[in-house]
């Protein structure tokens, strides 16, 4: 019989929380938010540089460093640290069990923290101005590649601990049901994709590190692209799986949604694992070498089955919410449930905004731009940047923010402060993002390029481009949206940090 001294019972959910698991969640969550803050500062620098009103506010060298750092801090550091916290929560806490090998969890955390800090250092110092994709033959410092590898190894270890913790829960008898809870199942799918993703990462970053050290003489640029995107795209699907797991979690926590008829939802998660892992060629649709037939197969048959999965969740998540609210009595007509829903709860409004923006703006554009022929009107333009700011920077981020508002009381055992202000936070961030990402997508149709410092004077090139004034209008809207969204992000970071330090203690 196990001792219960290292467990406490959560007064909000009734779940048993293992103290070492709790500490690991706290560390990863705090680092996630710190990285988001860093990424947000860099976002401001980048946005103000591209905004016509404040254009080129920093010089080009600084801009390209800031852009590289912004992508890494947001897409890698913030998102993955948060997902690590989520993995511990989904395995130890949701299964009322003990995390397996907490000391190894701490080792992994240190690897990720050291990796993340070194990545930032190298980028800030100008040793890695290669953008997030670091396309060969652009070359960064060996230390940069090494720190990415360290970070990835740490994350891989946590994924393994996640699986070990689930096994431990069964062996210890703390979880006996043959099937995992839906949220844990979704996270398990995310973790499986993560293992494959990180394996691809190792296959590409290790040779690239050796190349930067001069040990390997040459890396083929197309080979790099293909393998890098075998890391790059599935890493986004990890984010989708994690986000959707949060959607189900939030549905339950905010309105008591039940996960009924899980057959479809679980099948959809499995489809992600089977099909997204292979479907990375939508990043390579206007590349040489790969045949159109292969591009179509990869971006089409395979990817569109994963699209089906998203469409399934797109129905199941709001349906669960609607049913829960109808059960509570809001059963009039088609939409009384929506009108009377707890919009004042920032976790609820965050959830709904996440669904809306991810679905309408992110998902739709993703499938369309990933169409083999259409891609030539989108590749490397701001249409792409708008797309992924709608999916991961809005959808996933809002879902994670909404989840954080529960993690603070459940894990940190503090009430959120400034609840009046918090009501507006998801709206500020969400509406800001809609304007920002929308502005980017619309400007991108006119050909506004991504990763570009100066579309205004082209560095003084006598050749110039006369942009359609409508493109400039959309770029102006982009900037306004960016500022509003950053404000929303700042409120998130501020209130979370204040709550953890000084929030009213929860029993």
């Amino acid at each position: 019989m196990a001792l219960e001294q290292d467990m406490r019972t959560c007064s909000i959910t009734g779940l048993k929380v293992h103290k070492p698991a709790e500490n690991l969640i706290k560390a990863n969550a705090v680092f996630a938010v710190v990285c988001m803050l860093l990424g947000g500062v860099l976002a401001l620098a980048v946005a103000l540089t591209r905004w016509p009103v404040t254009q080129r506010i920093i010089d080009s060298d600084l801009f390209y460093r800031a852009l590289t750092g912004h992508a890494l801090d947001m897409l890698i550091a913030w998102i993955i640290f948060f997902e690590m916290a989520g993995l511990y929560f989904g395995s130890a806490v949701l299964l009322n069990g003990r995390v397996a090998a907490p000391k190894i969890g701490w080792l992994a955390f240190i690897l990720m923290a050291v990796g993340g800090l070194t990545i930032n250092y190298e980028v800030v110092m100008g040793h890695a101005t290669v953008m997030f994709t670091s396309y060969v033959p652009l070359q960064a410092s060996p230390l940069y590649y090494l720190s990415v590898i360290l970070f990835a190894v740490g994350a891989l270890i946590v994924c393994c601990l996640f699986f070990a913790t689930i096994v431990k829960a069964r062996l210890d008898g703390t979880y006996t049901n043959p099937s995992l809870p839906l949220v844990t199942f979704g996270l398990a799918c995310a973790a499986i994709i993560a293992v494959v993703t990180l394996a691809h990462g190792a296959i590409i970053y290790i040779p690239t590190l050796l190349w930067s050290l001069g040990i390997i003489q040459h890396i083929d640029p197309m080979t790099y692209r293909v393998i890098w995107w075998a890391l790059g795209h599935p890493s986004q699907q990890i984010n989708v799986c994690a986000m959707i797991s949060c959607w189900y979690l939030l549905g339950t926590l905010t309105v008591g949604a039940k996960a009924e008829n899980q057959k479809l939802a679980r099948t959809a998660f499995v489809f992600y694992v089977l099909f997204i892992n292979v479907a990375s060629e939508h990043h390579l649709l206007v590349d040489p070498v790969i045949s159109p037939a292969h591009k179509v197969w990869n971006t089409g048959y395979v990817m569109h089955l994963a699209v089906l999965s998203s469409m399934i969740h797109a129905l199941k998540v709001p349906a669960g919410i609607e049913k829960a609210l109808r059960r509570q009595g809001y059963n009039n007509g088609l939409f009384e449930w929506l009108k009377k829903a707890p919009w004042g709860n920032p976790s609820f409004s965050g959830l709904m905004l996440s669904l809306l923006i991810f679905g309408f703006m992110g998902g739709i554009t993703g499938v369309i731009f990933g169409t083999e022929q259409v891609n030539l009107t989108a590749h490397n333009t701001w249409r792409i940047t708008g797309h992924f700011h709608a999916t991961v920077a809005s959808g996933t981020t809002l879902a994670f923010m909404a989840t954080t508002y529960y993690i603070v009381p459940i894990i940190f055992q503090r009430e959120m402060v400034m609840k009046g202000l918090l009501k507006f936070q998801p709206w500020l961030f969400g509406i800001g993002m809609i304007l920002m990402a929308g502005g980017q997508m619309l400007a991108g149709i006119y050909g506004i390029p991504r990763r570009h410092y100066d579309i205004f004077t082209f560095g003084g090139n006598p050749l110039t481009v006369a942009w359609d004034p409508t493109a400039m209008l959309f770029m102006t809207i982009f900037g306004v949206g960016a500022i509003i969204a950053i404000l929303g992000g700042v409120i998130f970071v501020l209130t979370v940090v204040l709550s953890i330090i000084a929030g009213k203690k929860v029993a």
Partner: protein, 175 residues
């Protein structure tokens, strides 16, 4: 609840509403898939993948040859030769930090563009149409293009290629 153990048996028949939605969604997914091969047959914008490995120095030589063999019709504001190809092959070389040569093409004529770079990866973006392709060193990427509108079409580089990436431009004129 999504956070608790599910029903003992959760592999249950699907709701009617869900069945309808999944069926419609599946049909839509299949339509969007089959649209791609379909457009290859009926559509006029389908990039092939004809490509050859090439040594950057060799590509530079061939581009030089192409420029010499073409009719020089002018110079751009930044000193690039504007050349009118005599045949159907067009060489467009990307380097840090320009696309060379500038081109004058005939509307309605079909050209085999040879795209490559002599240093790092670049992105060719023809504006304001907005048509985009990758330009990869060590690969001669053949894209067969038929300009169907006339005018001046600047080329912007949209793949980060170094410190002066934003100063990198090219030009295509179609008469």
């Amino acid at each position: 609840m999504s956070i608790s153990a599910p029903e003992r048996v959760w592999w249950t028949p699907v709701d009617k509403d869900e069945k309808i939605w999944v069926t419609i969604a599946l049909i839509f997914c299949l339509v969007t898939f089959f649209m791609m091969p379909f457009y290859h047959v009926v559509g006029k914008q389908n990039t092939s993948s004809e490509s050859y490995r090439i040594d950057p120095a060799e590509f530079e030589k061939r581009t030089e040859l192409f420029i010499q063999q073409s009719e020089k019709v002018g110079e751009t504001a930044n000193g690039l030769p504007i050349v009118k190809p005599r045949g159907e092959d067009v060489y467009l070389l990307a380097r840090q930090f320009q696309f060379e040569p500038a081109l004058q093409l005939e509307k309605g004529k079909t050209y085999r563009f040879h795209l490559s770079s002599v240093d790092v990866q670049h992105g060719m973006s023809i504006l304001p149409l907005n048509m985009n392709w990758m330009v990869i060193p060590e690969y001669d990427y053949i894209v067969t293009i038929t300009p169907t509108t006339s005018g001046e079409f600047p080329i912007v580089c949209n793949e980060f290629c170094g410190a002066a990436h934003h100063a990198m431009l090219g030009m295509i004129i179609v008469k």
